[in-house]
Symmetry: C2
Subunit: 296 residues, 2 copies
Amino acid sequence: MINTRDLQYLIALSEIKHFGKAAEACFVSQPALSMQIKKLEETLGVQLLERTNKSVMLTDQGMIIAERAKLIINQIDEIKEIAKSAKDPFSGEIRIGIFPTLAPYLLPLIIPPLSKIYPKLSFYLIEEQTAHLIEQLKDGKLHAAFLATPVEENTFTHSVIFDEEFLLAVSANHRLAKSKSIRQQDLKGENVLLLEQGHCLRDQALELCHRMQVSENQNFRATSLETLRQMVIAGVGITLVPKLACIPGKNIAYIPLISPKPRRTIGLFWRKSSAKQGLLHQIAEKVISIMDRQSL
Amino acid sequence: MINTRDLQYLIALSEIKHFGKAAEACFVSQPALSMQIKKLEETLGVQLLERTNKSVMLTDQGMIIAERAKLIINQIDEIKEIAKSAKDPFSGEIRIGIFPTLAPYLLPLIIPPLSKIYPKLSFYLIEEQTAHLIEQLKDGKLHAAFLATPVEENTFTHSVIFDEEFLLAVSANHRLAKSKSIRQQDLKGENVLLLEQGHCLRDQALELCHRMQVSENQNFRATSLETLRQMVIAGVGITLVPKLACIPGKNIAYIPLISPKPRRTIGLFWRKSSAKQGLLHQIAEKVISIMDRQSL
DNA sequence: TAAAAATACTCCATAGGTATTTTAT
DNA sequence: ATAAAATACCTATGGAGTATTTTTA
């Protein structure tokens, strides 16, 4: 097998055209270089050099191959360059997944400060449903993902980022719009609108409905939280909205639920084996402190 | 220093994603591959792989570097390919020098049959004055050169190709035009036209003039044998022409010289150390047999 | 004769093998 | 408990050094 060392010896010889001096330039003895070049000629099966005692000259093939060798050695140096610049974990790119019912409310809060803290880091944000995020995180397409706990995947580790309350969203002229808080019995007979299959928020809300003994409106399923909000405003029904997504408006009211008080917990997840451990820990801490200041 | 082997191990691992199986594919034991990969990571100073006991995954840097590695290995394979196709000495290219007073008369005789014998060989023919040819042959720009003997350069070896007589060229209405042969005393008072400085034919003719005690026309020096011939036809003077260049015509006569009977010897020269020894010997033999049939 | 490359021979570094341990699921 | 990678330790290949010979200009 051809070695990078062999190529370097050939390059040195092609430039210096003297075994002794080329060997010196390679920091080896003259016989060492002679031997390797000879071996290279044998493995390739072609004469690379014309030798006399007064001059060394490359054959045509030798020149062609030496040229190629230079290109190859340059590319190996490039690998070293890539490695050197990749050594700084706070540079390069990081791909973070986030599910759709959290993304538009969390990202505006955290991405601007994070970009400021890590100016050499490019944040790629991938908005997908939880199941896809877990898959992509597992097979390395993502470095990390914001997910609602629990996640049944023990190759992951996570930091809890924040705890988020669910509020009941009702139209401004709904009978419950003026309530200060809601209890289970207040919801009797209500028509709860939910998201389509696949959203973790749907599952969380559905579970809550079950506990509160109200049923889902089977005729409608929204594809986004924003659609859901518009349907509520239109008076089609009520829904559950996580606190971060509770954008105030005159046509809509958000009312806290008590007994049970529903919450979801958001964590930042990454592979235990991730090469970006340190960076991800730091990012998690930063996001936690940002969210603390939001007082959910 | 990074080895091609290291790169191959990394490539195998990037494709197979299993240390044991990748090692098997590289025909080494699993620890051998593990060690080398670990070393590569250490020398580069970056983590290339995420390891768990159930899965191997490349880091971003690992993927980038593995991609580069593939390109590099491909290029090394290309070197092997180049070597393989260069192994056939009867293929590729050969650069042969020839001086200008021989080229237009010799090449039409030898190149067609040689191209037929060596169909995979490209003949590059360089027409330069002898001194330049010797330089170019010395420093490898030429593989061989047709030169008039003797050549004072003992790093060269040569085969004698043919022996060529010089004839006296005179205008058809010159007083000597009807002579069967010429002796020294016949030339008394003649005006000999010669080529410009640098042509070996000039030196050969000049030396002959000296021996025959006739002098050169100082007012005119031709840049080519063809010009010289036209000057002779125009009646400006007489000249010496090598037999190969004696193209018949009604306006010109070529008369043999006797006592002394001038000749030049043409050889094919190449470096003793040339990698194309075998081919050049063969070519020399072919050219000799072609020229034998010309009966000079 | 002198300069340079090739040989001869020895030594050591390191790649590789086997057996075993650690690790993570 | 099991599969897989890492570690430990030994072996062997081959790359490198020194001394010497060969070559050739």
